[in-house]
């Protein structure tokens, strides 16, 4: 076990995946000499050379499209999209090619591509640098979607994503890049729990709080605060957004009967909608209150000085907890539409 930042854990994940399998390549903008704008690929160029650490022209469709060709040839490209907001030029290649080629070719052509996306807000960034596009990919059949919340998971899930024969969109919360945690770099993939499992990060009995990414630590803070008010919250870090580990989720909901989901992305047709719909379908008779969502507003990501009014925080989560607990809350005064 070593104490590493999440940035370093991902860097180590790349390094070891590349060392283990010569077919693994990394590609993207500024990932070579610079080591990426977040230094996630730091040192890889020196270690593996320009044939395997590829600074590409500035064109995201080009990056993903050539990764598709490399996958056709048997390579396992790990693509870095520089910021969340720059994945959209590659959307066509991701949705129509990466996600569909295995289906289209009846399983003959595999697309073991990992698309790494530095993700979401809370870092005071300029427009387009704080997006949460995960729902687009969750809605896209043929992709797997991972969102990590700590260095150990980041390391393991990245290695699993690279090892997977399916394409994986892998979200890295920028806000947590410098957060440290214990990482077992020597963990054998075979010994790790399979990719796709959620984790109960805090046990509780009154409310199930579902979340992922950088909202996990805020959820944990909320759980601590709620404890003082006598409410016991079980916090689940979903880790995989497609597929979702409903076994873990429903076990918790059947215990608590109350659900709050929190994420930064906009609410309308977001991942929270999917979670609530699925939980309601699966646990209807166990529910004691309407599940609640705590999300970003349905707005473009606001200017940095205002982002704290957009990204769910401890107060907004506790307000939703009050709603599921039927205590006085922000809805108390409002007539329901």
């Amino acid at each position: 076990m070593t104490q590493l930042t999440m940035a370093k854990a991902i860097n180590e994940g790349l390094r070891r995946a590349m060392a283990d399998d010569p077919k693994v390549l990394v590609m993207g903008e500024d990932i070579g000499k610079l080591g990426g704008v977040f230094r996630i690929t730091d040192g890889l160029l020196d270690q593996f050379g320009a044939q395997r650490v590829i600074d590409t022209p500035l064109a995201e469709a080009g990056i993903v499209g050539t990764a598709v060709g490399l996958a056709f040839r048997g390579y396992r490209p790990v693509v870095e999209i520089q910021f969340d907001g720059f994945v959209y030029p590659a959307f066509d290649q991701i949705v129509c090619q990466v996600a569909k080629l295995h289906y289209r070719t009846r399983g003959n052509v595999k697309m073991p591509i990992t698309i790494r996306i530095p993700w979401a807000g809370g870092v005071g960034a300029a427009e387009h640098h704080s997006e949460s596009p995960e729902a687009y990919f969750v809605h896209t059949s043929g992709l797997r979607v991972i969102a990590v919340s700590n260095p150990q998971d980041a390391y393991v899930a990245l290695r699993q994503a690279i090892a997977s024969d399916d394409p994986v969109v892998y979200f890295e919360p920028k806000r947590l890049y410098h957060t440290k945690g214990e990482v077992d770099l020597d963990l054998q993939l075979a010994d790790a729990p399979p990719m796709g499992l959620a984790r109960v990060v805090r046990e509780g009995s009154d409310v199930t709080l579902l979340t992922y990414g950088s909202q996990v630590s805020i959820a944990l803070d909320a759980a601590t605060a709620a404890e003082d008010e006598g409410v016991s919250i079980e916090v689940i870090d979903l880790r995989s957004l497609s597929p979702v580990d409903y076994r873990t989720v429903t076990a918790s909901v059947r215990k608590t009967g109350r659900v709050v989901v929190t994420h930064e992305a906009a609410r309308e047709a977001g991942v929270g909608a999917e979670l609530i719909a699925s939980v309601t379908e699966r646990c209807f008779h166990y529910l004691e209150a309407a599940p609640q969502r705590v999300t970003g507003h349905d707005i473009p990501y606001p200017p940095a000085k205002l982002e704290k009014h957009h990204v769910p925080d401890l107060d907004r989560i506790l307000d939703a907890v009050d709603r599921v607990m039927d205590r006085p809350n922000s809805l108390s005064g409002l007539v329901e539409a």
Partner: protein, 379 residues
């Protein structure tokens, strides 16, 4: 370079300023760029090219007929483009890798597709049939231009493997407008990838004449990206073969990408759903009929005394036999079981989809055996 760069090339539709080895009348003419690449092409080889083109045209007419008879949902005719497709594809080695578009029937034929491979997708049975690795040819691409990037990426893989293969993309004049195609040129040039861009300028993108996409020849774009380029008579199978050999040689020798614009004509409708009388003149079509790619090879062979009735009849018989196989493949197609719609979405188990499969299986089972045939239809 001069400081001010002015486009000096000819209009897109100027079809005579192109590289050519066979005139429309079938005369063999010299071309300094091309001759060296086809020195070995003797009468036997020419007859093979003729045969290929006749067979492709026969597949194509069979495809149209099958669609008219309701056996196929759609067919995208390639009539008129046989020389482009056969000439370029016959320059390839089996271990090169091709990324074609939906209209490259002739390319896929040359790569070794079986009869069923031409029809099962257009019938709606499968999105694709052949295993790309068996004929080193990707599924025919429908998203305009997307495959050009795949070819460049594949070529980057070839570079890393250190072999002398090449990766080739085929796309249309319309596709030349897509961002993907231009990005593919940027990447290919930047990485010196062993790839060939084959742009089939058949003058039309559905109803849009090529002038909507380009006021100047499309071949003129590649050099700006640092890619050598050639504009060739796409109805001249010999010229297409030569151009492609030049381009492949360039790639194999480590010089990176090359670009070919093959100027040809889509004689038929865009697809069997299209009505070209709404947007183009008969005269234009007729003028291109006089440039027919098959007729000019026949004329050359006849002039050389290498074409007789027996040969013609033998090729026609081969073509009919192949068409019969294609027809049989279409008519004999058996639609897959309902539950298989869930197959091959992922290469590895996926909890969500596996659950849906369990549910859908149970749902399908819920229909009594007698009803099974009408599952999914109104009850």
């Amino acid at each position: 370079m001069t400081h001010t760069l002015t486009p000096t090339a000819d209009p897109a539709t100027e079809i005579d300023d192109i590289a050519r080895l066979l005139t429309p009348a079938g005369e063999r003419i010299a071309d300094p760029d091309l001759d060296r690449w086809v020195k070995d092409v003797d009468a036997a080889a020419l007859r093979d090219l003729y045969r290929d083109m006749v067979l492709v045209r026969r597949i194509d007419t069979e495809g149209v007929a099958l669609q008219r008879q309701g056996q196929l949902a759609l067919w995208p005719p390639c009539q008129g483009q046989e020389a482009t497709q056969i000439g370029t594809a016959r320059a390839l080695r089996a271990d090169d890798f091709v990324f074609p578009s939906y209209r490259e029937t002739g390319v896929v034929y040359a790569r070794g597709a079986r009869p069923a491979d031409f029809v099962l997708a257009w019938r709606g049975e499968e999105h694709s049939t052949y295993n790309p690795y068996e004929i080193n040819t990707a599924t025919q691409q429908i998203i305009i231009g997307a495959q050009t990037l795949h070819a460049v990426g594949y070529a980057m893989g070839i570079q890393r493997d250190g072999t002398d293969q090449a990766a080739v993309s085929y796309f249309g004049d319309g596709a030349s407008s897509q961002g993907d195609v231009n990005e593919a040129m940027v990447f290919a040039s930047s990485f010196r990838a062993p790839t060939v861009f084959v742009c089939t300028n058949n003058h039309w993108a559905i109803s849009e004449p090529v002038a909507v996409q380009a006021k100047f020849p499309i071949a003129g774009r590649a050099p700006g990206f640092g890619i050598p380029s050639m504009r060739v008579d796409g109805n001249d199978v010999l010229a297409c073969l030569a151009a492609m050999r030049w381009a492949l040689d360039n790639a194999r020798r480590g010089n990176g990408p090359a670009f070919i614009e093959a100027v040809t004509y889509r004689m038929g409708p865009h697809t069997t759903s299209d009505d070209p009388t709404r947007y183009r003149d008969k005269e234009e079509v007729e003028s291109w009929r006089r440039r027919d790619p098959i007729a000019r090879v026949e004329a050359l062979l006849r002039a050389e005394g290498e074409f007789d009735d027996a040969f013609e009849a033998a090729v026609a018989a081969d073509a009919d036999a192949l068409a019969a196989e294609v027809r049989a493949a279409a008519m004999g197609a058996v639609t897959r079981e309902p539950l298989t719609v869930l197959d091959n979405v992922y290469a590895e188990p996926h909890a969500g989809l596996d659950e849906q499969r369990a549910w859908f299986g149970a749902y399908l089972d819920g229909f009594a055996p007698a009803e099974a045939a009408t599952v999914g239809e109104a009850r």
